[in-house]
């Protein structure tokens, strides 16, 4: 169960009014990715986990010898194994996919939340389905709809505090002194008023440069941050995405659990469908991993070990 605290401890900031969204234009198919020409391999059948371990050296060698196939592991590992002649049982396929999706601790938490929610609501939770989430909140949980238009959730900062401190030290000393002074003034205002105060306006000139230090992704929603005061909405939305669900996290424990599950699922390694896999493989569709990842190599055991 997620802990619900009254005050957030995360590094994320309180929600603020959002700026107009910038639309990222669709990325056309890249000319940099070449379609993969299938190679012929001796088939390998993996029935169980032991087969996977025994065949590892051969599998690694096949992938290392064909690096263009190795990168397909990031698209759909089961299908990628198939490229090197591997057939998997459903058990092994499920294991491979499951292992890749989440690290163990996230896997465990995901399983917990899915089981708990399923038990409580009588169906498998689908936080990635906005219409399902809407029905869940307003029909199943009977929550009062809230006005969330224009509000932005709080996100965790991807960098840890130590890294931020080291990066801060790279800034001009004059800048750091001004920031410390501004922060001190802000805290004085806050302690004097007893409540969060608007940060003093520091913009005195005509021009400014604003740097967006990170993009905010749903998987970094700060579930422990405080929510702002929210007003009731006249009617419930028919679709609720994760960023909107965020504002209901304190309305009901199950809403918070659903949000946490949604965040975890967002963090999962995406496995592409067969059709998507084929399109990516043939260069008809872009995928960042296909263009960014240049090689995946596995450590191969020496010949005498592999023969042992």
């Amino acid at each position: 169960m997620a802990r619900h605290t009254s005050k957030g401890t995360a590094a994320g900031k309180e929600p603020e009014a959002s700026s107009p969204k910038t639309t990222v234009p669709p990325i056309p198919p890249s000319d940099n990715v070449l379609p993969i020409i299938p190679a012929n391999f001796e088939p390998i059948r993996l029935e169980g986990h032991r087969d996977l371990i025994v065949q590892q050296p051969d599998l690694f060698r096949r992938f290392n010898d064909h690096p263009e196939l190795a990168t397909l592991l990031l698209i759909n590992p089961v299908l990628a194994f198939g490229e090197v002649g591997v057939e998997m049982s459903r058990e092994i396929a499920h294991h491979v996919l499951h292992t890749l999706q989440h690290p163990p601790r996230q896997r465990r938490r995901r399983d917990e939340l899915e089981a708990s929610l399923k038990e409580k609501i009588g169906e498998l939770p689908r936080p990635e389905d906005p219409q399902w989430v809407s029905r869940f909140l307003f029909e199943k949980l009977q929550l009062t709809p809230l006005k969330t238009d224009g509000l932005k959730p709080a996100y965790k900062v991807p960098l840890n505090a130590a890294a931020i401190e080291r990066l801060q030290a790279l800034r001009p000393k004059r800048q750091l002194r001004r920031q410390q002074q501004a922060e001190s003034e802000y805290k004085q205002l806050e302690s004097a008023s007893g409540q969060p105060a608007a940060r003093p306006s520091i913009r005195s000139g005509r021009s400014a440069i604003r740097i967006k230090m990170t993009h905010n992704a749903p998987r970094r929603l700060d579930i422990e941050a405080d929510l702002p005061p929210l007003k009731e909405a006249r009617r419930a939305p028919t679709e609720v995405d994760l960023e909107t669900l965020y504002f209901y996290k304190d309305s009901h424990p199950l809403a918070c659990d659903l949000l946490e599950l949604g965040i975890i699922k967002r963090r999962s390694f995406p496995i592409h469908s067969g059709d998507s896999y084929r399109q990516i493989k043939e260069g008809q569709k872009n995928n960042a991993f296909r263009t960014w990842v240049k090689s995946i190599r596995f450590a191969e055991a020496p010949d005498d070990e592999s023969n042992g």
Binding site: K13, E16, T22, V24, I27, D31, Q56, F60, A70, T99, L100, H102, P103, Y155, P158, L159, A163, R166, L167, A169, L170, R171, P172, R174, R177, R178, Q179, R199, I202, R203, G205, R206, S207, A208, I209, R210, I211, K212, M213, T214, H215, N216, A217, P218, R219, R220, R266, R267, F269, P270, A288, F289, T291, W292, V293, K294, S295, I296, F298, A299
Partner: protein, 735 residues
Amino acid sequence: MSLTANFDYCVELGIAQVREIFHLAFKSEDRYPHNIGPLTRSLTGREFTINVRVHDDNDRPAELNFQDEKHFRFTFPFDLTTETPDAPDPALSRVTLQVIVEVPGLLDNWVEEGEDVLGVSFLGITATDVNITRLDGLPTIDINNFLAAIHNRYDTISHVYTDATSGSRLVLYDGNRDNTLNPPNSSGDEITAALETHSGDEYLKITAPIHVTVPLPSGGDYTSYGRLIFWRQVLTTDTTIAVQMGSEPALATLRTTVELNNVAGQQQAELTEIVERLHTTYDVIDHTRSMFGTTVTFYDGERDLSLVPPNKIGLPEITAVFETHSGTEYLKVTLPIHVAVSVPVYLSYGTITFWREVTRTDTTLSVNFAIAPANPALQTSVALDVPEGGLVSGPLASQVGPALAAFGTLSGPSFGAVEAQLIAMATTGINNFGTVIEPAFSESAARDLLRTEIAAYLSERRYPFYSPKSPDPEDEPLSTPVGFLLLPDNVLAILLNRRTGTPADDHAPDNFLGSNPLALAVGRAKVDEVIGEAIIAQFPELSKSNGSYTGQQPIETDEGDATLFELAVVPANPGAHGESRGHLWVSGEAEVHIDCWPDPDVTFSGPIFIDAVRVDSEEGCTLELQARAGEFDVDQSCCDVLLDLLIPIVGWIMLVIIENCIDAVGGELAADIAAGQAEAIEPIPPVINGIAEVTACLEGLDISSQGFVFPGEIYIRRLGRSYEDLMEDSNRPRP
């Protein structure tokens, strides 16, 4: 190719913006005075007060151009007014010249009030550096100026001159300027002058109306109006035209002369003197002579009453007149006589008429009675009252010569002596005019003088226009700005933070301004340095190794763990890696830790773009920068881990680069990183050395292998407002 040469940062401005700043700066009278003076100069022996007004308006604009890599070329139009209270010609006491001058200004840096500044220096310029492109209003001295000077000087000198010895008096006129003179100027003529050339020299011929009164020795006065005519040499140099009135020319033909209207009076005066001497000589000669049985008695009025017979009734005296015959002047004398012949007896009164030649010098005339003229028409004749048929008069005329010779040689003053006296008196008056010196600069002399004066004025001056002054007293001083002018593109490049070498190694950067009015650049070395520092700050287990950063940096995320072995972030050109835009090329290697599976080594590489969007609002302009990994869809969660590794570091790289750049160029920084974004304000110094308020709006970001370029716009406003500004706006203060 280099955006910033051997420096870290560079600000480039187009010449239009530099000119705008220049024109605004030039309006600051206290900093860039364009009303200069009054200055005092001693020129051609006279004190001049000089005022200069430099212009910069629509009709007469000042101008700035780029001459070479280190020099501006300024063009200044100005009016130069010279005043001297005692100009010989009052019309020349105030002269205004219209001048246009070109001077080079060195783009230099120095320390002013403890701060390093970049500016324009005129130190050390010489007259040869100054170019006069226009010079109008230089007066040309002509005869009218001389006349005006003479008339002006007349008012200051004495107009009546007296010779104490002779009592002669000369009055000098100039029209009716002095209406107290007695007698008044009958003609009303003014002093006139004309320029003449004699023996290759130029002279001023001056004619002045006069009146003379000369007491005659014989009594009475000779009076006459006339003219004083004199020449004086005109001496011309490159800077003056002078006439020394007190210096008479050596040429005999140019001696001072006096022309008097009363010529008859002159003759009468001379005759009177000669006749007086005749009378005086008569008193000492024999009055009775016997010759050839004839007794001749000479009379002269009642001078000898003892004579027998006495002078006939009426007592006629010896008389004389001047006559000219065949070009020779003679004295015709008529001498009353009595003739007594004994056999046969003949008695009669009569006269002897005879001529004697007059000999003149400048100051005397003389008549030698002993020499009879050869001209037969001028033979001595005798006329007797009692007719005698020539029997007595004829022989007597031929024999009376010796008796007439007894008069000897008579001399008297000619009127030339009077004229000499008058000229001496007039010369005193002429001398009182003194030396007339008109400052009269030739074109070349005027230009030379202006060049010298301008160079002398400017050679002590320099004017800062850019100072990356830190407003925080705790800061270390910012670096010395170094400037270059890029020709033929007409770009001012200001370099900051020398990275390598010494000032002797400084050289001009590339023109990255393009068609923008303003651009800031961060050099490749600085970009690499910041990238390296940011990488190590985020991944402290990595260290620099041959252009990338290597080591074993544990990465722990909610999505999984990895060990980062190598990371490199390199700015790349448009066109590199098949990307049309400039970008940061990221490459690296990591070992990904997968549960229940051997950890594979993953090598990765790809572009990160910095999207730059200018957003204008009521607050002003904002350049929004956001890093975006190429080929990544922001909603594609699969890649968020990589994005979380790369995007923040790029964000910090951008922040540190921009802040350090703005800090170095002297801009103003903000102090906030909030809600995942940071702000910096005023990219370049908002106030350039008290001249103008400058606001820069950066509009984009261009990445290349040479570094980063931020193109922008610049807005320039004069700092403070002057009366001139208010006048332009018709907004003068009202009562």
